[in-house]
Amino acid sequence: MADIPAEVDVAIVGAGPAGLAAATELCRLRAGRVLVVEREAEAGGVPRFCGHSPYGMREFGRPMLGPGYARALVARAEAAGAQIATGVTVTALRDGPRLTVTSDAGTGEVAARLVLLTTGIRETTRAGRMIGGTKPGGVLTTGGLQGLVYGAGLRPFRRPVILGTELVAFSAILTCRHAGIRPAAMVEPGARITARHPAGLLPRLLGLPLHLGTDLAAIEGRERVEAVVLRSGGAERRLEADGVIVTGRFRPEATLSREGGLTYDPATGGPEVDEYGRTSDPAIFAAGNLLRPVETAGWCWGEGRAVAGAMAVALAGALPPPAVRRVARTGAIAWVVPQRIAGGCSPALDTLQMRAARAASGRLSLSVDGHEAAARALRALPERRMLLPLPAGTGSPEVRLEAAP
């Protein structure tokens, strides 16, 4: 492990938008030696494989494609003075904090004054959704598809069914188009398309049949997918297809933090943090999509940069003590980040971010010690960002989403 320092000031785990933004910012703030470890052969994170979406307005002031955006983030972090070590996997998070790392050179250890976890997210797989049927080849997540298409130049199938209508499903459609794959149908268990308008126009534009209120009940085929069974309103029907793209339902890639003993929030699937991005171990911070499923690259970039600012303050010993005030949630709120409030000034996460558990028209409110501090009416949809101001003062905050009568 010759090229990896044994001791650094800040070790960042994961070189996606959040980690690279944090590295750049920590260097700019002269936080000392900053090391970013990335398990893949190339830094840049998920945008590397998104050859289509608009990236970079907030970060670079111009629209960019994913791969170019990823390269620009890497270049900026390196120019700022951060060391990025690729092909290095962190296998354990230990007290100190110390990271057990492994690479072609074998196993080693890095000690850091502070650690930032920016390990990102993954999609829920066919297994995680417990879809029935056989287990043939040709069932992929969007990430797996993009790895095969953009990473290996393969066309894994010709007529797949796409499951899900989150934004990433439309990324899957565009990846299919790039590879000359013509999806047979798009299937969504919910009553409407999850992604924001105008993404929903895409299936119609491409003549792709869209089945709402429909479950993918089973997959058929032994070696390769031969058909899928769709279930809608109690009726089942068979649709021929040679592949399935299982999209979305992102989950934070939280195994490292969980096995490292950090307090875990089952609601987000990631570690609990306070408004400084500080986890239950005050020397370990977290940012980006590890905190919750799922936000845009630009959002993660901003979050990484903001938490880096808090870490620089922490290195100077000037962060308020770790918090015990938890943000309570009631009604149809699936999760809230940050989960805890320390109550100091200059928070890194300066809003409470939430998602609705289900579609609801109603009233979103924040109260502190029972007194309402903020409220607004809204039409909440799952997978859409809801924000409230971070509560001031020292009382006990509670967020609430009530359906209108």
Binding site: R39, E40, A41, G87, T89, T91, T102, S103, D104, A105, G106, T107, R122, E123, T125, R126, A127, G128, M130, I131, G132, G133, T134, K135, G137, G138, V139, L140, T141, G143, G144, L145, Q146, G147, L148, Y150, G151, A152, L154, P156, F157, A217, A218, R222, E223, R224, G243, V244, V246, R251, T255, R258, E259, Y264, P266, G269
Partner: protein, 465 residues
């Protein structure tokens, strides 16, 4: 050596039909006895039938019917595995098992189950009160009544073990024919001539280890069947690695007359599994998963370990056990000692395989077969992919990790593609290395893996999920 082209082969001393765990153990046992062995597997790779999906436990046989052939084979199989596993580089995680009672009736059954264990030679079982059980396994639901501990039950790697048996057989000259289905055959003089999809194969002794197809093979070769296979499906859910911290022991229910019931246990790879169901079906080839059943398994797991509700399911699978109309194994010698049926090896095949192999060798010797055992025994070592020993990625020159979830290195994948019995399908590579079997199911490694395996598989990689 492996050579898999269509030319007449033989005569061999022993032809084994079926490359499941039992066939692999038989190949090893007969090769070590000095016989020339050929093993034929109709799938493109070994372990593609009943051995594909099981609970990966090395049982002591404490709950087998005392006096049965199954009980004897499990006991001998356990002893043999314990003796040889270290030399073959195979794991044995001595987790121990708890048989947990949740109702009055189950609690009342515990003493007789312990009696049965002692009758099976498993004398170290020990009763535990509710408090003692919870002290050992604090994540168990507190509604449990009592339990007893079976200290020697353990966790093993259900795919590396048979691969090791077969690799050792190959080191002693055994041939392996994959993609080789036996379609018929007849005995002329003292020689069997088997028709296969790879041409004629001749042998003096034929052993039917065809698992889910055992009865059909008997009918094709000896014109009769003593039993009918009734495939019994078992579905499983597998949780991500952090869930493994919830249970140290294998957690067994009080068995019923039909099934051992739903087990919760860690795996040798550091996951946690819940299963299997026991569902009779006609289909011998496919074991389809069912969403509602998997949901019910998940709920059952959470009844036993409530904290499982906060953990992610990362894999689901189903296996088929080759059950018959009777409980015990169906091992019989036919055709003047030239043919042995090894059938009805249902859920305990992994634990019993080495014992079954020794039992069948004795039957063959009693029937007059005999060979000159080699002076030296080769002990090929498997690469460790379990949590029981250091992993490849911890040593230098591993090429870096390709599959992050299961921490599989480039060197491990290359080794599996160039081993004496190389992986010839993605499923085969998964069983040898665990690649893509983790929480992301190929989200991250599909691309690099497709590039690495180009040209290596019969069916090129289109990904899996």
């Amino acid at each position: 050596m492996t050579s898999e082209s269509a030319v007449p082969r033989g005569p061999f001393d022993v032809a084994i039909v079926g490359g499941g765990v039992v066939g692999c153990a038989l190949a090893r046992r007969f090769a070590l006895a000095g016989a020339s062995v050929v093993l034929m597997e109709k799938a493109v790779d070994i372990l593609d039938g009943a051995s594909k999906g099981n609970s990966a436990i090395l049982h002591t046989g404490f709950d087998a019917p005392p006096g049965s052939l199954e009980a004897a084979c499990i006991a001998e199989g356990y002893r043999d595995y314990d003796e040889i596993h270290a030399r073959l580089g195979l794991p044995l995680i001595r987790s121990g098992a708890l048989v947990v009672a949740w109702t009055d009736a189950q609690e009342a059954a515990l003493p007789s189950l312990m009696e049965k264990a002692r009758a099976n030679g498993v004398s170290d079982v020990a009763p535990l009160t509710r408090a003692e059980t919870l002290a050992l396994e604090p994540h168990l639901a507190p509604t449990l009544r009592a339990s007893f501990r079976v200290p020697r039950e353990g966790l093993i790697d259900p795919w590396s073990a048979p691969l090791a048996y077969l690799t050792q057989a190959m080191a002693h000259g055994a041939e392996v024919l994959r993609g080789c289905a036996v379609t018929g055959g007849a005995r002329a003089g003292d020689l069997w001539r088997l028709d296969t999809t790879l041409g004629e194969v001749s042998a003096r002794l034929v052993i039917n280890a065809a698992g889910l197809y055992g009865d059909l093979l008997d009918e094709a070769l000896i014109g009769r069947r003593d039993f009918t296979i009734r495939p019994r499906k078992g579905q499983f859910v597998v949780y991500d690695k952090p869930a493994a911290a919830l249970a140290g022991h294998i957690l067994l229910p009080v068995p019923t007359a039909i099934t051992k019931g739903i087990v919760v246990c860690r795996t040798a790879w550091g996951n946690l599994l819940v299963g299997p169901t026991a569902e009779e079906q006609e289909d011998r080839a496919n074991a389809p998963l069912d969403h509602a059943t998997l949901d019910a398994l998940r709920a059952k797991g959470e009844e036993i370990l409530p904290a499982l509700a906060e953990h992610d399911v990362t894999a689901v699978y189903a296996g088929l056990r080759p059950a018959t109309e009777e409980k015990d194994y169906r091992i019989a010698v036919h055709e003047a000692g030239s043919y042995v049926t090894v059938g009805g090896i249902r859920s305990t095949g992994l634990s019993a395989a080495l014992g079954i192999a020794s039992h069948v060798l004795r039957l063959a010797q009693e029937a007059g077969h005999g060979w000159q055992a080699p002076n030296e025994v080769a002990w090929p070592r498997m690469r460790n992919i379990s949590i029981a020993a250091p992993r490849d990625h911890e040593s230098a020159g591993n090429g870096g990790i390709v599959c992050h979830c299961e921490q599989v290195t480039r060197r491990e994948i290359e080794a599996a593609l160039s081993a004496p019995l190389p992986a010839r399908s993605l499923s085969g590579l998964k069983r040898r290395t665990r690649v893509t079997m983790g929480r992301c199911q190929g989200f991250h490694c599909s691309g690099p893996l497709a590039r690495m395996t180009a040209g290596a598989f019969d069916l090129p990689m289109a990904g899996n999920g």
